[in-house]
């Protein structure tokens, strides 16, 4: 009897342990985080700090756009393909293309950016592509399969960004940090976030999560483009208002000419018309 109860206890214990192990396995499999980080790329050795100098912007600028390498511990098999990244970069680069002080945009393939490459890597890209300024794109995507299991807390260059998740939701954060390579100075940054509500069932979970992932990136890129536009306007104003912080000059071979501008031209015409009318009347 005693032997039987010991055997039953052992079997029950084994069953309990195997069940718990299965649960842990399920939970691990369900967690999905996919990220790349500008901080890890630019400052891989935390004790070494790059001291930025005053940026000397030679207009018109040549701007490079690139995704920083993904963190090896946070990659996944169905990660963003090079084509996906190029598509996203093209959408974001359209914002830069419309700027009056930007001459060219270069989309830099991921293979040219080494993990932890820092400014040494950026200097190489500057030499290869002739770019003055780099827009470094990074992202953090979390797919939550359990309520409150995992929130997205992404470390941007200026602090943490936290998004809480619900079951089967996909939270995505994209970040564009724009650096003047020569001075090591960050000119400005813009975030883009998205939150795709989960509608997956256990039957179609992997397919739905993949679709949600792609949609998450697309929506975050849309949001990033909107924020980037605002930041670019603010940057232009800042350069004009704070000449001590940004030295602006023009490259050899620039185009120039006189420009009256609509407002001034209308003011001249209005005042001139008034004067002529008074003369005629008098």
């Amino acid at each position: 009897m005693r032997v039987t109860s010991i055997v039953v206890s052992l079997i029950l214990s084994a069953l309990l342990i195997s069940t718990l192990a299965a649960c842990v396995r399920f939970t691990d499999k369900a967690r999905s985080r996919y990220a790349s980080s500008v901080v890890d790329y630019l400052y891989p050795q935390k004790e070494v700090a790059e001291i930025p100098s005053i940026p000397q912007l030679s207009l018109p600028l040549r701007v490079g756009v690139a995704f920083v390498p993904e963190s090896s511990r946070m990659s996944r098999p169905d990660s963003l393909s090079e084509k996906d990244k190029l598509d996203l970069m093209q959408r974001i680069s359209a914002e830069f293309r419309s700027l009056p002080f930007v001459k060219d945009i270069e989309l830099i393939p991921s293979a040219y950016l080494m993990p932890g490459g820092s400014f040494t890597n950026l200097d190489q890209i500057r030499t290869m592509y002739g770019v003055d300024v780099m827009a470094l794109l990074s992202f953090d995507q979390v797919q939550h399969t359990d309520e409150g299991l995992l929130s997205l807390s992404y470390w941007t260059i200026v602090g943490a960004y936290v998004i809480r998740g619900e079951k089967n939701d996909t939270s995505t954060m994209m970040d564009a940090a724009v650096y003047d390579i020569a001075s090591r100075k960050m000119l400005f940054r813009a975030p883009g976030t998205s939150h795709v509500k989960g509608s997956a069932t256990l039957v179609n979970l992997p397919e739905q999560l993949r679709a949600d992932s792609a949609e998450g990136f697309s929506l975050a890129a849309d949001n990033l483009v909107v924020n980037l536009n605002g930041e670019l306007q603010r940057f232009q104003a800042k350069v004009k208002e704070q000449p001590e912080e940004y030295v602006v000059r023009h490259k050899a071979g620039y185009t120039g000419g006189g420009s009256l501008g609509g407002t001034f031209a209308l003011a001249l015409l209005g005042l001139g018309g008034l004067a002529l009318w008074r003369n005629k009347k008098g």
């Binding site: 000419g257 420009s259 501008g261 015409l269 002529l276 008074r278």
Partner: protein, 199 residues
């Protein structure tokens, strides 16, 4: 009184309108430093006829057309001198002092010169509107100074290309107006009209 046709103004406006839609003509007439140094000297004087965008063309022509029309209709003399100085002056100065400027164009120097000349002539001939002409002159001075000192218009794009506003073009236009007014003042037997002749 017979209406005098503003021939100089209409000729320059017509030529600028003709050049704008023909890229090969624009390329032939624009200030191109390398081409000038290679012997194409006409570009120094023809650069004002070339514009880089529709709005660049539109505002320049509107202001130059209105001011030139008023000047010629009022029979103010020496307007040709304003146009000559404002057209050739900036090109020569940039050729000598700005090796980094590769391409330049635009009629705004002539437009500024024409407005300044109209103001100077109107002030000198007197009338109720003298204070308004003076205000226009002061406003133009402030704009040129702001552009020169503050580099306010560094972020400008015309016709899809990054473009730098050159305040010197406007300054030369104003200087042309002053020179023309002085020549007009000192020349004998001069009988300028007045803005009351303006139809």
């Amino acid at each position: 009184m017979r209406l005098r046709l503003p021939t100089l103004t209409l000729s320059l406006v017509g030529m600028a309108l003709l050049v704008y839609p023909i890229p090969s003509l624009s390329e032939l007439l624009v200030y191109d430093r390398q081409a000038i140094l290679a012997g194409q000297w006409w570009r120094v004087g023809t650069a004002p006829l070339v514009h880089f965008s529709f709005s660049h063309l539109g505002w320049d022509l509107l202001v130059f057309g209105a001011a030139g029309w008023a000047i010629e209709t009022a029979r103010y003399r020496k307007f040709w001198l304003v146009c000559a100085i404002a057209a050739v002056g900036p090109g020569l100065l940039y050729l000598l002092t700005a090796p980094q400027l590769a391409v330049y164009g635009g009629l705004s120097g002539l437009a500024t010169g024409a407005v300044a000349y109209l103001c100077l002539c109107a002030i000198c001939t007197g009338g109720k509107s003298s204070p308004i002409w003076l205000v226009i002159l002061v406003l133009m001075g402030i704009k040129i100074l702001a552009e020169a000192v503050g580099d306010e218009a560094i972020f400008v794009r015309a016709g899809g290309i990054p473009f730098r506003v050159l305040p010197l073009v406007h300054l030369v236009g104003v200087l042309g107006a002053v020179v023309a007014r002085l020549c007009s003042f000192f020349s004998s037997n001069q009988s300028p009209g007045s803005l009351s002749d303006y139809p």
